[in-house]
Symmetry: C2
């Protein structure tokens, strides 16, 4: 099977979005957004042995997780997922069957959100690289920016933190006498982007979101920097999965503060809008924890302060940094 037949084999038989005018099969794809919507785009690239390992993931998981990472970006922008473009570089040893499994993993998530695969490239190379660009639509003036946090806001987070990092540790040989190991492994392989929760809040005038791909220390700092505010976080309020609480305290802290790729959302919202967040939590069955508050910055440089047992320390940007 050559490239053309392969592309044909992964090409959708029909398109799910009414906005899609032309999918795969021409020099470009064409779509028509609704008149009152802005377009959101995000890109994410994953490289074998840097972002994933073939001994901890099946090809389906690689596809699923790569698209989940992009959907998490769309959720953090407050937008509806619409379509995606996939570029795969694969060693010649990757059979078409295995390559199709990557697309299958993506399609599992894409069909949940009625997203269309609109194009891409499959080329040969030394190392597996998966690069996805996603398109979302968002109502005008409702994109959720990092610079939207304000003094007095409540800081909250969805789900539980550090689960994915623990799943990865378990997959790569760390031994912990912990129950439900499969739960953590699943959270690593097939994270659930918080799209429905984010969309439930579309009526709010102002809302600040950031998705937790590099650990909450890093993401809270991004909000502080972008909004030029101080973010105060109460360590005891950070949501931890009950099974994780049996781990040594130090390990727990590392996972919760800088464990990457949970793809949960950290947000800030005014006190008056907090009930709406609680309602969205209930309607979409998404755990939400209030973890702190936003204050005008104390000094020139904005910062994140971690409160723990009466002590306060400045939380630095940590987490993943792939390029050195």
């Amino acid at each position: 099977m050559d490239e053309f037949s392969f592309i044909h084999s992964i090409q959708p038989k029909y398109y799910r979005q009414s906005s899609t005018l032309k999918g795969i099969g021409d020099d470009g794809a064409v779509f028509r957004p609704p008149a009152d919507m802005d377009i959101v785009t995000a890109t994410d690239t994953m490289v074998q042995n840097i972002h994933f390992r073939l001994d901890t993931m099946e090809p389906e998981h690689i596809g699923y997780r790569a698209l989940a990472a992009n959907l998490s970006d769309l959720a953090a922008m407050g937008s509806i997922p619409i379509s995606y473009f996939v570029s795969i570089v694969a060693p010649e040893s990757w059979t078409h069957k295995k390559l199709k499994s990557i697309y299958k993993g993506m399609n599992q998530l894409a069909s949940e959100y009625s997203m269309d695969l609109l194009g891409g490239d499959t080329v040969s190379g030394d190392q597996l690289v998966l690069s996805i660009t996603v398109i979302g639509f968002v109502e005008r003036e409702r994109a959720r920016y990092r610079h939207h946090a304000k003094e007095g806001d409540i800081v909250f987070v969805t789900g539980t933190l550090g689960d994915s990092a623990l799943g990865y540790d378990l997959l790569t040989g760390d031994k912990y006498s912990i129950e439900d190991q499969d739960y953590f492994i699943q959270r690593h392989r097939m994270p659930q982007p918080r799209v429905s929760f984010s969309r439930q809040l579309k009526e709010l005038d102002r809302l600040c979101f950031n998705d937790i791909s590099d650990g909450i220390s890093s993401e809270a700092n991004e909000i502080a920097e972008a909004s030029q505010v101080d973010v105060h976080i109460d360590y005891e309020s950070l949501p931890v999965h009950p099974k994780m609480k049996t781990l040594p305290k130090k390990k727990q802290a590392k996972l919760v503060l800088s464990g990457g790729e949970d793809f949960e959302l950290i947000g800030t919202v005014s006190e008056k809008d907090w009930p709406a967040v609680l309602m969205a939590s209930k309607i979409t069955n998404t755990n939400v924890a209030k973890i702190g508050y936003v204050r005008n910055k104390e000094s020139k440089k904005p910062k994140v302060c971690l409160h723990e047992k009466g002590k306060i320390r400045v939380l630095k940007k940590e987490g993943y940094n792939h390029l050195r």
Copy 2:
């Protein structure tokens, strides 16, 4: 310099498009297309030693040519280039200075078209991979599809054919006593996408375009298949650069028929609209050659027929096929 500082260093100081609402620096980029425009997207991935070699290209050329390939797709769709997203996988041996040169090459072309760099990723890996996704706008019902060719259409092509392939041959050691070698090398390294020519024809109701990335044999076949017509091409009418005419006839034929990556356009248009094509050629200073015509298909399978010295042969899909 870490990834964050590097991203900061390539981040545009201002945005050129009024449609750009948010560029680099959040979970996603946001833009607002004009109400009467559709969105066109295209993606292209280039891998070191598969699509380019470091001994024939400077980093600037790699960036320039990768974006040119994408702009050629936007031109073939009849659209205006607006923005682009860049994903680079680079070995650790690539310094930030060299990586910035790739962006510089892209920016040279992007600034010509007032395009905005809206996002992307720079991650480490074993082999240089450059993946670009572009966004264009096109007036409603004016996207130029491959399936728009009709019986009676004139087939035409822009520029001259095989120049880029000859440039590559010259760069990789082929010895030809040919003048102006630099011209062909430049055509290989810095091809000029036919955006202004394509846009000059935006008023035409119907126009079929395909960009010549895999050689005219391949692209004419794509039009024939998509439109379910036969495409007849007159070999003697194919535009060849005068300096190339000193090459052996057989070599010439190979370059002209299946030399890839010229990024010229092949198009078909009704006879009544042919004067508009000639006018666009004049206004945009783009050579255009009439090379054949479109006929209803003779048999079930559409085909491309090459006429040469009174003989007709069927021209098969040839050209590049990266995945084997």
